[in-house]
Amino acid sequence: MPSPRDSLIHEATSLYRLVDSINRLVAEHESIFAYTDAAQSFFEEIHKQAKATKATVSGIMERASRTAEESASRYLGELIIQKGRWKTLHTYVKPATDAHTLNLPVPLIQMATDHLQEIPGLEKSAIVVLLTPHLMYYQRPASKLPACLVFVEVPYSQGPGFFSNLTIYHELGHYVFDSLAAAPAFAKLTEAQERAFAKKLDRAITTPSLRPWAKGVLDDWTTEVFCDLFALRHLGPAYTFALIDFLSLIGLMGEETEAKFDAEHPAPALRFREQLHRMKEDGWWRIVQGLSSEHVSLVTKLAAKTKYSFELQEKGIPEFIEAFQTIIPFIHALVIEITPHCGTAAKDFGRRRAEIENCLLHGVVPSQLLVEGGAPSPTPVSMINAAYCFYLTRLPELMSRLEGQEDLNLKHRQNLIERLEAWTMKGIEDFQLLGASGKNTSSGN
């Protein structure tokens, strides 16, 4: 059996090598690819932390050398924690190095960053995209990274895509919730959660761990609806449509699952009910409700459901849903309060939708509608919503105008959808360029 000091030396060497190899991988990728500013900041942080960890490990070894052989193991915990931090960090590094600018919808990421920075307290936020084989998640790193870096996983298969990536706004909502949960704006929501918990669930808590679990369930549901509404406020119905496509892809839009809560998510039907309510309040619904699209019918159908269930270990616990329902109005109020910059988005869309769709029907980038030095309209949000509506309802019309395009040919459809996404992204990029050159002062809404 190795002595405590030998074990320590072994652990320290192994950690040193791990850190060094991660650091080198980052440096190699930086020399080959171009990255967003946020990714670049993350990589700089990796270099900084690598240097600091190497110094810490050397310091631990030095202290251990001055300690009696038998008590050298006291430093082992410190080393294992450092190693754990790097093991976690390294799962972020490779996906971040894969997410170079050729693999990303950069205008969308830029727009999302601008939106995030409009929220008081989050002015310095920057989005680091991680391209992974998994679905979309917000990652809350435990590796002492700067709080302004927002880590969002995007499936590599959707990397440069546009419509499907709109759901990253939901993930940004998680970051906002985590970052601002202790801010005064959240106080009423927090009180409502405490009240709901105390009234419906507190009396049944019997062990110390059951309480954080039960509160965690309510908090997770609250966060999910908050994230949906946050995304919807910024993107309008395009978010709801993208979410339907996303949930369908992962099989959560079936009759059997749509009214079921799980320990982390409210039922999809309830989520769409709240989105519909928000769309009505914000003036979006009257514009899109007449669309001849399954997405619109589905939202209407789901929102009309009134019976939900939450089962765990084959036992129904309706009290959780009852408690949660009392919290929902406070989520709406909070989202409205922190996103005043989104108030006029639907109005612009209503005014410019037909013109944008007309551009797309003729294969013209909608930035043609932007006027240098004029009012900042149409906004990127209007372009996105018009493009999504066009995608849902008018693709066959576009195809019929082009020679050799067959409506039922999937390859042809794919090509045209990709072009539609590219025209939309170009429109947003041009809007951003005008903004950057000072001719347009809006950030996107």
Binding site: T88, A142, A181, A204, T207
Partner: protein, 148 residues
């Protein structure tokens, strides 16, 4: 990236919390530093909040040291009965007794190191396991809700 990564990093945070108590206490035992009273007070408060059931606060999720289900569950696995948690809390509080003799305090410090080392070992073990934390047995919760 494993989807349960976030659950697992909760364990790492708990291990770090323990390390934050263990390291300065070792320095104290070695005579290299004074008794870390502020750290011990914070540790005592964290244990106290678990005992009183308010360790998880809405709106402060990422901030609490012993706030999450995963962390409290780990603590329950190490200190299996409420009495053991009370014992750990008592020992930590006794260490803060300003009238205790230095020899006594050092003995107590070693015991607290041992307690938090056990908790840390369990936390690091859980961190290494590629599985999600099992949810609690909700049977008792359901029965209590039905009878209330």
């Amino acid at each position: 990236m494993p989807t349960d990564l976030q659950s697992r990093t909760q364990y790492l945070a708990l291990a770090e919390f323990c390390q934050g108590v263990i390291s300065p206490l070792w320095d104290y035992v070695d005579g290299a530093a004074p008794l870390p009273t502020d750290i011990l007070r914070r540790a005592s408060q964290a244990l106290q909040s678990v005992r009183s059931g308010d360790s998880y606060k809405f709106g402060q999720r990422p901030a609490a040291a012993l706030g999450s289900y995963e962390q409290v569950r780990t603590l329950e696995e190490v200190w299996r009965t409420p009495q053991q948690l009370d014992g750990a809390l008592k020992l930590t509080d006794e260490l803060l007794d300003p009238y205790a003799a230095e020899g006594t305090t050092k003995v107590r410090a070693r015991k607290v190191i041992e307690l938090f080392s056990k908790l840390q070992t369990k936390a690091l073990w859980n961190f290494e396991q590629p599985k999600q934390t099992a949810p609690p047995d909700v049977g008792e919760l359901c029965r209590a809700l039905e009878t209330a």
